[in-house]
């Protein structure tokens, strides 16, 4: 009987996943540029940029930025969640630009996908470290490194997307720069 209970569970999950993924694919395909842009969550870009540049452009006193400050500058857990959601929308916006500038857009989108992988991985590791910090004591000490990586990946994605729109659709660039 156990096998049928497990099979029933697997089939139910599979059917739910089949419906959910198809509906999501349909939504992605039908969304207009305006709808995509309206999906961008408000975020403290200047603060993220500061954290990212502290990591990407090392200068004298490069360890002066405290982990607690970084955490606040990125907006804590809510900020990280917003960064992850915005990264997803930025990818869709980059893919959307393929209709005007296919060659550049396809390469930029691929670069952004790689950034998004780093971003998601860093955020996932931060979440794991925060959840299991009592059990995995060493993991919490790595959070500042992951914060730097998350901020850098987000910053690079934003810069790539803005540069792509600057060259492929200057008309939409101001609106994009405004929301990002």
């Amino acid at each position: 009987m156990l096998v049928y209970l497990l099979l029933g569970l697997v089939v139910a999950i599979l059917l739910a996943a089949a419906i959910k993924t198809q509906v999501s694919a349909l939504r992605v395909d039908r969304r207009s540029w305006q709808e995509l842009v309206s999906g961008i969550k408000q975020i403290e870009v200047e603060r993220i940029t500061s954290v990212a540049r502290d990591y990407l452009e090392p200068k004298e006193g490069q360890i002066s930025l405290e982990p607690a400050d970084m955490w606040l500058m990125l907006g804590g857990r809510e900020g990280l969640r917003r960064m992850r959601e915005n990264a997803r929308v930025m990818l869709l916006l980059a893919a959307y630009a393929q209709q005007w500038n296919f060659d550049e857009s396809i390469i930029v989108t691929e670069r952004m996908r790689r950034d998004a992988v780093h971003l998601r991985r860093a955020i996932r590791r931060i979440e794991i470290a925060l959840t299991f910090h009592k059990v995995m004591r060493g993991s919490a000490t790595l959070i500042p490194f992951h914060l730097h990586e998350a901020a850098s990946a987000y910053y690079l994605m934003r810069q790539r997307l803005l540069a792509l729109y600057q060259t492929s659709h200057a008309g939409l660039y101001p609106r994009l720069a405004e929301v990002l």
């Binding site: 049928y4 089939v11 996943a17 540029w33």
Partner: protein
Amino acid sequence: MQFSVMEKLIWVSTFSLNAVLVLVLLARGRWRQFPTLTLWLIFLLLRTLVLFVVYLHGSKYWYAHVYWVGASIDFALQLAVVFEIARIVLRPTGTWVHDARGYFATVGLAGILVAAVFARWVSPPSPDIAHRVWEIRGNLFTSLVICELFVVMTFTANRLGLAWRNHVMAVGQGLTAWSAVMVAKTAIQSFLGTRHLYIQVEYIRGVTYVAAVCWMIVQLWRDEPERQPISSDLQEYILALHKRVEYDLRRLDARH
């Protein structure tokens, strides 16, 4: 072998609609994008014809042999169709999108393993016809694998922000719906065996396949709409922006 009216109806509908879908793929030139799908459908047509001839003139033994050989080729071609759709969606430029291949392969292989464990583990109650047990096990394995691969592929594409064009979307939707019903059907049959509701559940699968093929015929007949470069709202926005820039430039010129 005696077939009911409903079985014959589903058989004829499936054959006719498969033929129509092949004609649409060939006439509208869609076979260039979906060569494996076209090949699979042609194979299904040929298999139906061969099985029909064997049914009329051959023995039960030969019918079973042709059926099982056909089922094996069918499964291989179904896998090829899944990979064809994956190639279109996950390799838009001819190379795999970063992170797509690894994820698709890992989760896909894990799914195949799970399907194999379940197919071997279930013991459908079918004491009178021994080969039906293996038929149900085989169907459970293939349907779990195909459905799981479709779900993983769609999930991967959504996760990576890959948009689906209309034709591939229609094929994906049709085959996902059919494979999802197949999974439910084979799971029910593996529990109830061949005595209870076996034929009724087969009807549901048949009707779903007919509906899925109808959907694909309509969508593949239609041309994919060219995406508007920009919507009317955005055009107005850009025009307003240009006017504003021109106005500002005139003001600057007037000052100097």
